[in-house]
């Protein structure tokens, strides 16, 4: 017969049970130094009153909230959604809660969001691919413990990232082996961490294959920018295009299809990330599979490790896999 009204406090329980606060506290925390019979009685009163310790009060005195913060640049992006999902489930497994902040692509807000959410939690998981290096460097000490996702920094802070460079290289090699010699790259956001990695892959490839024409084209990171890039891509006379990510690839695919271009016969297209929908376009998208949910889970593991002080969490780098589907093929022209 629990009365759900006006949440009972530890004092109520103590009074009803005729014991001191400490005893109740001990019982509730499973401290064995309490007489079993007494403990039983206290527990009885507690359940009768529907008592649960206030997380707030505990947090204040214990100095930990059992909560971590995560800031992402866009909750609408499937990749970050997957990171969040992996993170959230992993954290839940360890009894932690997740406070979430979406900067909505406002890089200027990220710092504040990070600091603010961090103060209400025990640690931070930061996805801020576009925050300038120097700003990030200033921020990091302030929000420790923190783990970075998809972005390296100094070794002092653990970073869980996919190896964008190697993966993109895999995609280029795939196109090359198909026979493509004129390849466009839709560059996404210029100053993002993963774009930097991709550009490195590009120049690596250039060095190895000077005979191949690599054309860099500007673009955004979503459907619309992919679609908007269609004319530029077609104008470039490339036979294949590396899109910044699956979203861009899908937008492009859709737009060129509308213009009567056949994929992959007239144009091969690769995506990046392997979001859940990549296999359902037509043709299905060749892409690099970034295990975003794993990234989230690993980020949690790293943070949890430093939280429990077991070990200095190590950075980890995941290798995406090139998954070849129908959107790439040999050039016909």
């Amino acid at each position: 017969m629990a009365r759900a009204t006006a949440k009972a406090t530890i004092t109520d329980v103590a009074k009803h049970a005729g014991v001191s606060l400490s005893t109740v506290s001990r019982v509730m925390n499973g401290n064995p130094s309490v007489d079993p019979a007494l403990a039983e009685r206290v527990r009885g009163v507690a359940t009768e009153l529907g008592y649960t310790a206030s997380p707030l009060a505990r947090s204040l005195v214990l100095g930990r909230t059992q909560t971590v913060a995560v800031v992402v640049p866009d909750l609408g992006n499937p990749t970050f959604q997957a990171v969040l999902r992996g993170l959230s489930r992993a954290a839940a497994t360890d009894g932690y809660h997740v406070l979430i902040a979406d900067s909505a692509e406002q890089v200027a807000e990220e710092r504040l969001l990070a600091v603010e959410t961090r103060r209400r939690t025990d640690g931070l998981i930061l996805c801020a691919p576009r925050m300038p290096d120097d700003e990030l460097a200033m921020l990091l000490p302030e929000v420790r413990p923190v783990v970075l996702v998809n972005r390296g920094m100094d070794a002092a802070v653990p970073s869980i990232a996919a190896d964008y460079a190697t993966a993109l290289r895999g995609l280029i090699d795939h196109l090359y082996s198909l026979g493509h010699r004129r390849i466009a790259y839709l560059a996404g956001v210029a100053r993002s961490a993963s774009n930097t990695a991709r550009l490195a892959a590009l120049s690596g490839f250039r060095a190895a294959h000077p005979e191949v024409e690599l054309i860099e084209l500007a673009s955004g990171v979503d459907f619309d920018s992919g679609a908007a890039a269609a004319d530029a891509v077609l104008g470039s006379r490339a036979t294949a295009v590396l899109a910044f990510n699956d979203l861009v690839a899908m937008g492009l695919l859709s737009a060129v299809s509308d213009r009567g271009i056949r994929v992959p016969d007239d144009l091969s297209i690769t995506g990046f990330d392997d979001i859940p929908f990549a296999r359902y376009t037509s043709p299905p998208l060749t892409t690099a599979s970034v295990p975003a949910a794993d990234l989230g889970a690993l980020a949690w593991q790293a943070l949890h490790a430093t939280l429990t002080g077991e070990e200095a969490a190590a950075s980890v780098r995941l290798e995406p896999e090139v998954v070849v589907r129908g959107s790439t093929g040999p050039p016909t022209s």
Copy 2:
């Protein structure tokens, strides 16, 4: 020259400024009853020390956390992702934080998650389409203030929902006007709130059009169950199928296409929700557009209203719009 080490407390500031705690508190809270000059000095010390009031301590004494909880059944589902996004951004606008819990489709966990996250926050936004009515009824009083998403209850708790019944009816009418007389329905999760609404729409249509054959088929709520239902759908000899949602529709579309079935010539398919990818299938999906992000934003508004006690938040019901794309057409058989 802010020293970021060991977060300064209000006591530090008071000491450095040579004033009492109360004064610092007043200054930090913009209480005008402080001598402007003194206030200025205190503010100086505060910034110098990099002082910010501990949200935890404030929460404890003020009795509010500036945080709300949201529980969703699956963070991998685009609809709930959109709800979360709309909610998170709206809440951020009002200076609130969002604590998120993903029950990972474990209906048994939802109650606990709801109660636990609610205790650390000021209110709850609950998406629990599959929780049994009686369990929900028991839970609600315990987590108030709460607002329900996509699920009505008694009038006592505000509910923000899309009108699934009317929308599905719109989809059926669309198929009917196209000439379909044998229509299959992929029923998704049997006991979910929105499925109940859909079934109501179905029987409404049956009453109006006894000449139409309406075939109910079991299915899940994701790609795979859509694909898995392909044989059953084909076996039913329906000329059109109403999929439980876009995911199911896409899975089905993909599977029947693989079998050489042409959509919409051989089979018309409708989805539900209008997730961002629905327009990028081929053919693009005819579906009912559920403004999930708006649902989230409205849920926030309702919760915020009851939090600030301005008014008793009202329930709202949004009308999805039927959006006709390429996956539906007249039957050819």
